[in-house]
Symmetry: C2
C-alpha cells in the first residue's frame, strides 16, 4: 500500500513504478486458448478478456475470488450554479441508499457476488466552484488521490470503479476540455437529465471554467485539481494503486472514465490494466472513448453512474474466465481439430 | 404441453393460440420502474429487459428461478460437400463434450447457475443434401419442430436456445435466401472458419440450393424443410412452445436466429417474447438482425454457437431483474426527486 501523499511530485514519482504486462502469463493464456474445444477465436472478446485478466493479474489461470466495487462520493461547489437536475443533497441521500442496500449497484453486487464499498468524501465540504477558481488546491487533490488508493486492499482481484456526486458530469466535461480541448458544446450532455435553462447554465459554467483555467495547456494533475472533484481524484488514485497491486480494473461511465483519462494523460500505458465496462448514454462518453482508443464491453444506454455498468461487467469477466479456465482441450475431449 | 405433431397444418394451427403481451404486468413494471432511486431511464436497456420479462412471463415481479439452456444437435447431409472447416464427426464429439462438461456452454451454465439440456437428434441420420433435393420432408420437419417443443417444461422461466451441427451455417444461409431473397454472396460467411476452396464450395452449394428450391417464393415452413436442419426446426418449435408457456427466450447467434426468422415469417409478432443475445461475428447475422429489426444485447465477436452467447446473456437479464425487483423507491429511501 503506498503511503498517503500530499503533493503531485509524490504521485508522479509512482509512475515509473507501474508494472507492465506480465508476458509470461499472457503467453500461457494464449497457449491454453489455442487448445480449447472451439474454433480458434470463436469466443471473440471473451478470449481477449481472459488473456487480459491473466496479463494484468500476473497469473495464469487468472481468478476472480474477491471482486470489489468501489463507489466514491463527493460534492461539487459548481452544483450551486444549478447545473444538475437534482439538488446537491441527493449525493448524501444516495450514499445512505447505498448503505441501506437500496441502490442499483447494491442489487448488482448481490447478483454477481461482489463486495461493495462506498467511500464518502466529506460531503459537507464540497470542492470550490471551479467556474470561479480552482476546485481543489494541490494538497487537497493529492490527498483525494491518495484516499482513492486505499480502495485497493490485499486480496482484491478485480476492482470496479464508480462515483456518486451531484454535478460531476459538469466537472468531467470541464476536465475533458482541459485534457483534449474543445468547448462545452463538445463535451457537455444532459447528465442526470438537465435540459432547457439548466442545460444552458451547465454549458455556461463549463465555458467560463475553460476560459479561466484552460486558456493555456495544463498538466494532467493540474487539470484534475482545477476542474475535478474529490471522487474523480480518488478514482484516478484507485486506478494507479490497482496497477501497482496487479489488480485489473473495470471502469464505469463518463465521469469515471474521465478520471481514467487523467491517468492515461500521465502515462499513455496507464490504463492498460483497465477495461471500460460500458458506453454511457451521456454523449461525452463516446467522444472520450474515441480519444482514448477504447471499445466498451456493452452499450445499454445506461447513465446512472455509481459503478452500475462496471458491476454488471463482472459477469462478463466471470464468464470469460469460466470458459478459459474450465473448458476441455481438443486432446482431453477427443474432438477432431480443423481439417 | 402441445401433443407431438407430424404435419405443417398442426403447427400452423398453433399460431392463433400464441398469447400476446401481458399488458397488466407491463404496466405494473413501468409503474415500479418510475419510482426507483435513479434518474428516469438511467438503467437504459436493463429497464427494457425487466419490463420485457414481466410482459412475457405474464407476471410482475418477473423471476428467474429456473433458467434452462437448450442445445439442439443434428447432422447435415450438405456437410458431405466439404462446406465446413470441421468434419461431420465433430457434431457427435461435441455432444460428448457437452455431456462430459468440457464445452464453453457448460462453463457458462455453471457460472450463471443455469440448467443445460442437450438434445441429440439422430446424429447418425443427417438431413438429405439440400443442394440435391429437400433436406427434410414435411413429416420429418414437423416432427423435429415438435421435438423442440419438449424443451419447454413446466417451471422453466427463461429459455436460452442454441445449436450444434457441422455445416449448419450453410443451411442457415440457404434459409435466409428462401425467406428474404439474395444470393450466397449476401448470406454465406466463414462459419467455423472456412476460406479458399471450402468457402467456394459452401457458396456454390448454397447457390445451387437456391436455384433448386427458391426460384419461386415458398412458405416459411417449406423453406425450413427444404434447406433446414433438424436442430433448426427444433429451435423453431422451442420458440413457439415457449410463447405458449409464457417463457421468455434468449436467442443465440446466426443459425439460431435463422430458426427464429422462420417463426417471425409465420407470425410477425412471433418473436416478441425473444431477445437476441448477441451479434455473431458471422456476417450474415448482422444482415439478418437488420431484416428482423432486432438489436442484440452485446457484440463480442463470438461465433461459437452451442448457445454460448445466450447463456452469457442470462447474467444481463439477472442483473436487470435484480435492479428492478430489489431497488428502493424514492419514497422508501428518502431521496429527493428531480427538481
Amino acid at each position: 500500500m503506498p503511503e498517503p501523499v500530499a503533493s503531485f511530485a509524490e504521485i508522479l514519482a509512482l509512475l515509473p513504478e507501474l508494472p507492465g504486462p506480465d508476458l509470461e502469463s499472457a503467453t500461457k493464456a494464449a497457449a491454453r486458448e489455442a487448445q480449447l474445444t472451439k474454433p480458434a477465436g470463436a469466443l471473440g472478446r471473451l478470449e481477449e478478456i481472459s488473456g487480459w485478466m491473466a496479463t494484468w493479474q500476473g497469473a495464469h489461470p487468472a481468478r476472480i475470488n474477491r471482486p470489489r466495487v468501489a463507489v466514491f462520493a463527493a460534492n461539487h461547489g459548481i452544483a450551486a450554479r444549478g447545473v444538475s437536475a437534482f439538488p446537491a443533497a441527493v449525493t448524501a441521500q444516495m450514499v445512505q441508499n447505498f448503505v441501506s442496500g437500496g441502490a442499483a449497484v447494491n442489487q448488482l453486487c448481490t447478483a454477481f457476488d461482489a463486495e461493495l464499498r462506498v467511500y464518502e468524501m466529506a460531503l459537507e465540504k464540497p470542492t470550490a466552484d471551479f467556474a470561479a477558481g480552482p476546485a481543489m488546491d494541490e494538497g487537497e487533490c493529492a490527498r483525494a488521490i491518495a484516499y482513492g488508493m486505499m480502495a485497493v486492499e490485499p486480496g482484491i482481484d478485480l476492482l470496479c470503479l464508480g462515483e456518486m456526486g451531484i454535478a460531476n458530469t459538469t466537472s468531467a466535461s470541464a476536465i475533458c476540455i482541459g485534457l483534449f480541448g474543445g468547448t462545452a458544446e463538445d463535451w457537455v450532455g444532459p447528465g442526470t437529465g438537465v435540459a432547457g435553462e439548466a442545460m444552458a447554465r451547465k454549458k455556461a459554467a463549463v465555458d467560463l471554467a475553460a476560459r479561466l483555467h484552460f486558456a493555456e495547456k495544463r498538466k494532467p494533475l493540474d487539470v484534475l485539481a482545477r476542474a475535478g472533484g474529490f471522487e474523480l481524484a480518488a478514482i484516478a488514485g484507485a486506478i494507479l494503486a490497482a496497477r501497482l497491486a496487479r489488480v485489473p480494473v473495470l471502469l464505469d461511465g463518463f465521469a469515471c472514465t474521465v478520471a481514467g483519462a487523467v491517468v492515461q494523460a500521465l502515462d499513455p500505458r496507464g490504463l492498460d490494466h483497465c477495461q471500460v465496462a460500458h458506453m454511457s448514454a451521456e454523449p461525452g462518453h463516446r467522444r472520450l472513448l474515441e480519444r482514448l482508443g477504447r471499445k466498451p464491453l456493452f452499450d445499454f444506454g445506461m447513465r446512472l453512474g455509481e459503478a452500475s455498468g462496471a458491476a454488471l461487467a463482472i459477469a462478463v469477466v466471470r464468464g470469460a474466465l469460466a470458459c478459459h479456465n474450465g473448458m476441455a482441450t481438443f486432446a482431453d475431449a477427443g474432438v477432431a481439430g480443423k481439417d
